[in-house]
Symmetry: C2
Subunit: 608 residues, 2 copies
């Protein structure tokens, strides 16, 4: 399991420690993220993996002269121990044994511990700093990342081409968006907003890139000024010839090196002192804040100014996403039809299965990529929430097994994300009970009516109550925001028991994905994407509800009809009718016939 030969890891660690000595440092802190704090990072920024071998999507290493440690969260407890040479690195739980506490216990008085200020947010560095200070040590921002200094053969930052995102898909011109946001800036007395989240830059300028997998991000930084102009800091090699015209006069392009001086100039050149600058506390780095403050600006750590308008999809985007979901549903249905014939043979592997799903999708109009690595989990692998099949771990899909497939695609007109759980052969009574409870939670969210101002946190319990009845639960959120040909995980809203005060607003897209997992046996998840809509129920308050965007049958064989209320049964039948009516015109005769049976009224009896 350890892909990093020990001698190689030891050598890298020795190089880093020599670099510490050269810099007069007692240690160095390396997180997993890049300077945008993103979920996906380009190869040059995979410093944590290079140093430690650990490839999880979140984590952090601290290297002192005599000790080193890798922190990973509960998703990666097993993986980190398998990938890291535990003779060289201790491993710790990122949440339960936080790095700040480790520093408090292990740093020595007077230690100067380095960190790359581009890779940490101010909020993120606070506890590390407090921990170090409890040991009498201090944190020191370094000019150049110490891994970069010793990583020979480090890849170059990506320079994937940036392309305009057509108005037909964006639904609204970049100039219009800029004007709107400038109004908001002015009203709140801001001189400028720093845009450190590349998905916000993509949205604001109606552009898309290809710098990281699965999400069409143009890695870059931008400043939105109070005069409505934007300064975009991006490697010029990414920009094709047509982009100047697309940007128009309101956008100035500069090299990434110009970003720091421009940040300082915001304060120095402001006619109001101090200049008040809005930053996004989730993605802004310590380095950006220090450049702003060096110029005399007052930095407000809030929410990215693009986050809320980006989340509230306009009518053009909604039309696009509905079209994308129709194509995606047709591809998924053809796959499920194929799977219903293949799976019972007992020879289909998890990887071959997800490859086939990709083939069905790839043929669709506007298809660009999957929106994340498909989760294709047979039997016990379905119970691993963030499972990714590898040749070493994959199982065959066999009769009397549940199979969970969570997948999505990036289309030019929309981003999809859907999970279905399929019974191969005959499910057990327990499996049908659990699946039906998950379905009841899914339906409770789908049918929810709630007043304007309600947050996703307030709806989370609706998805869990039927599981709680039986003493069961699931250990993940119920729903995440989804972008429009952008990030499949998009804020600022979500449906989660973790408190979140962002109100759901019309046009927001969010997943509805309760689940149940029995370790070592099977996993269940039912996921559709929904969008928030105004609804009229004839009462006193302005009310909202959800429109389901995803079209795909829910496995009737797994439903215990006796657990469903009449209202739940009508939701299910109506949903299946809509799926059938929407997708049948897009299917060949065989798939259409399969779909007709898969979506017939539930009271006609269970199973296919």
């Amino acid at each position: 399991m350890n892909d990093n030969p020990i001698s190689q890891t030891a050598g890298r660690l020795a190089l880093l420690r020599a670099e510490l000595t050269r810099g007069g440092l007692a240690g160095f802190i390396q997180p997993r993220g890049d300077e945008h704090q993103g979920e996906y990072v380009p190869p040059y920024a995979e410093r944590l993996a290079w140093l430690t071998g650990f490839t999880g999507s979140a984590g952090l290493a601290i290297v002192l002269q005599s000790r080193a440690v890798v922190f990973a969260d509960g998703r990666y407890t097993l993986q980190v121990r398998a990938q890291v040479d535990t003779a060289l690195f201790e491993t710790r739980h990122l949440v339960d044994e936080p790095p700040g506490e480790w520093l408090a216990a292990n740093a020595a008085k007077g230690d100067r511990i380095g960190f790359d200020p581009r890779l940490h947010t101010p909020d993120g560095i606070v506890r590390l700093r407090q921990g170090a200070e409890r040991a009498g040590a201090g944190l020191v921002a370094v000019e150049r990342n110490l891994i970069d200094a010793v990583w020979s053969g480090q890849p170059r930052p990506p320079v994937a081409p940036v392309v305009p995102h057509p108005l037909a898909f964006a639904g609204r011109s970049a100039a219009d968006k800029r004007a709107d946001l400038t109004d908001r800036l002015a009203k709140q007395g801001y001189k400028a907003a720093i845009i450190s989240d590349p998905s916000s830059i993509a949205w604001l300028l109606n552009i898309r890139g290809a710098d990281v997998p699965h999400t069409p991000l143009p890695l870059s930084f931008a400043i939105l000024n109070d005069d409505g102009t934007v300064d975009l800091f991006i490697d010029p090699r990414k920009l094709g010839s047509g982009l100047g015209e697309h940007f128009g006069n309101g956008v100035r392009v500069a090299a990434p090196e110009a970003f720091g001086p421009a940040l300082a100039d915001l304060g120095r050149k402001s006619d109001v002192a101090p200049a008040k600058i809005l930053t996004d506390s989730a993605t802004v780095s310590v380095w950006v804040v220090s450049q702003l403050e060096a110029g005399g600006s007052t930095v407000v750590r809030g929410t990215c100014i693009c986050a809320l308008p980006k989340a509230c999809k306009n009518e053009g985007e909604l039309e696009g996403t509905r079209a994308a979901h129709r194509r995606d549903g047709a591809a998924l249905t053809r796959y499920l039809c194929w799977l219903s014939a293949e799976a019972p043979k007992g020879t289909l592997g998890e990887i071959a299965s997800s490859d086939r799903l990709l083939e069905f999708r790839r043929g669709g109009e506007h298809f660009r990529d999957t929106s994340f690595d498909t989760i294709s989990g047979a039997g016990p692998n379905g119970a691993i929430v963030h499972y990714r099949a590898t040749p070493a771990t994959e199982r065959r899909i066999e009769p009397d097994m549940l199979y969970l497939v969570d997948s999505g695609a990036q289309y030019l007109d929309g981003t999809t994300d859907v999970t279905r759980t399929i019974a191969v052969g005959t499910p057990t009574g327990e499996q049908r009970d659990r699946f039906t409870r998950v379905l009841k939670g899914h339906i409770a969210v789908a049918l929810a009516r709630f007043p304007k101002g309600t947050s996703g946190s307030q709806l989370d319990t609706l998805a869990r109550a039927s599981l709680w009845e039986a003493g069961l639960d699931y250990d993940h959120g119920t729903g995440h925001g989804v972008g429009s040909y952008l990030s499949v995980h998009e804020g600022p809203h979500r449906i989660s028991k973790i408190p979140n005060t962002v109100a759901l607003e019309p046009g927001m897209i969010v997943s509805n994905e309760p689940g149940y997992y029995k370790t070592g046996e099977y996993g269940i998840r039912i996921e559709n994407l929904v969008t928030v809509r105004e609804i009229d129920v004839g009462g006193e308050r302005p009310m909202l509800g959800f429109e389901t965007l995803t079209h795909a049958p829910i496995d009737r064989a797994l439903i215990d009809l006796g657990l469903l209320s009449p209202r739940e049964i009508s939701w299910l039948d109506a949903y299946h009718s809509r799926v059938r009516e929407t997708l049948t015109p897009l299917l060949d005769a065989a798939a259409a016939a399969w779909l007709a049976r898969a979506t017939r009224p539930i009271q006609d009896g269970p199973g296919y």
Copy 2:
């Protein structure tokens, strides 16, 4: 409506402004609270009412030389305009038009604005300070409150006697509580904890006082030291001769004047430097923090060390509260029986009605006081959530009206709080629909099963979903914590849409009180107290649920049976059976006969 003659208010304002001039100040900020930030304050601390005439339970005044303003929240919008002379004071919404913003707009550059550091928490002062600074002004802590300096005839602080709270009711000795908390202090590396919430002092030392209405608080401050001793700062006149023995060796008593020096000494005399001191961010004052910091201590603003153990009632307290609720339910039932005969006559006033309820309660064993001012609202007055009947506002209870009565009592063995809504004559279809939706929400909370770790915030939506279905809602929380012969509003838990991450734990008491209010017509609320219990539902997770403590019939005449599910009907019938079985032995024959009819199975037909 304005009880403060204008000339008197103008005179007081002039006195305050003269005092400003003497102190070289441009203004003064006076909040409603006292130095414990409590809900109830003694007469000497009613400075806001003395200055402005406004008597609401929350608010704040800012007086500049040329302008003055009173802030009140949405509950008091009408009241503040009626009570305050608007020629002298502007009125503003405390939340929507926050005082800090007002300062930013109205303070002048260079202004020094005074505040009493004993009356503000550090969190509370931040926005005021930021607002002042945006105007180029500054806040200045004053040594002596400016109202006190000009208020001739200001009452003295109360010196009500403090009495021991018997072990039979407290359920646990004070020495045992101290030992437990000292362990917690030590584990977290604290030198001491400051106890600024008098209800925590009452709980920790097993004492009760009588310094404010409705809640048996001994107003005082305390320091819990890491050696298990307590320093109690209290006016010695409050302490009777038996208390020294009750306190034992572990408690040192000192005068209130000694509190400041003792705070400073914590840091000065600590053998570990800096001494780490835990404070309660909700009740600690700027003054306390500054005394601690002057002594060199590091101040941690967290939750009162007593808050969680105080909230989780022990078995002795739970037995007491169950007994108190039986007596309280019997008194309420006798009242409801009496009301069923009196109300249809159409002559009963709201005040006479609540007076009669008090008489029924007063006869009960261990009765000490009401736990808050009874809300007795007929018809439209029931729609005013925090209504308090006065001779000027009260209505007669008449046929074809809903009557809402929210009341509670302090018994030595427990604190009660219950709301019932009664139909006088025949309710309308709409009223029955609304009442039944509120009841469905109440039952959903009562029946909730949830995993350990769940917060009250996660349960709030269960109480609202049936109203949301019809486009309705209510604008208050669903439940507040309740003390044990202590505050009827007690933290740290609650059931509310406002995020709260405190997990519900066994023994916590919380109210379950959804409602519906139609302005100008009627109000509905159904409130029982419940306590958290471990339950076994045979699943995988440790689960919790609620035991209902309150015993009183729910008006059958207001229930629309067609809206209830079979599960809801069985809850209601089982609840009514329990009420009947529990209370009948405590009632005379007439009341018992009335209760038997009021609690018969709902399917026997509606109404009494």
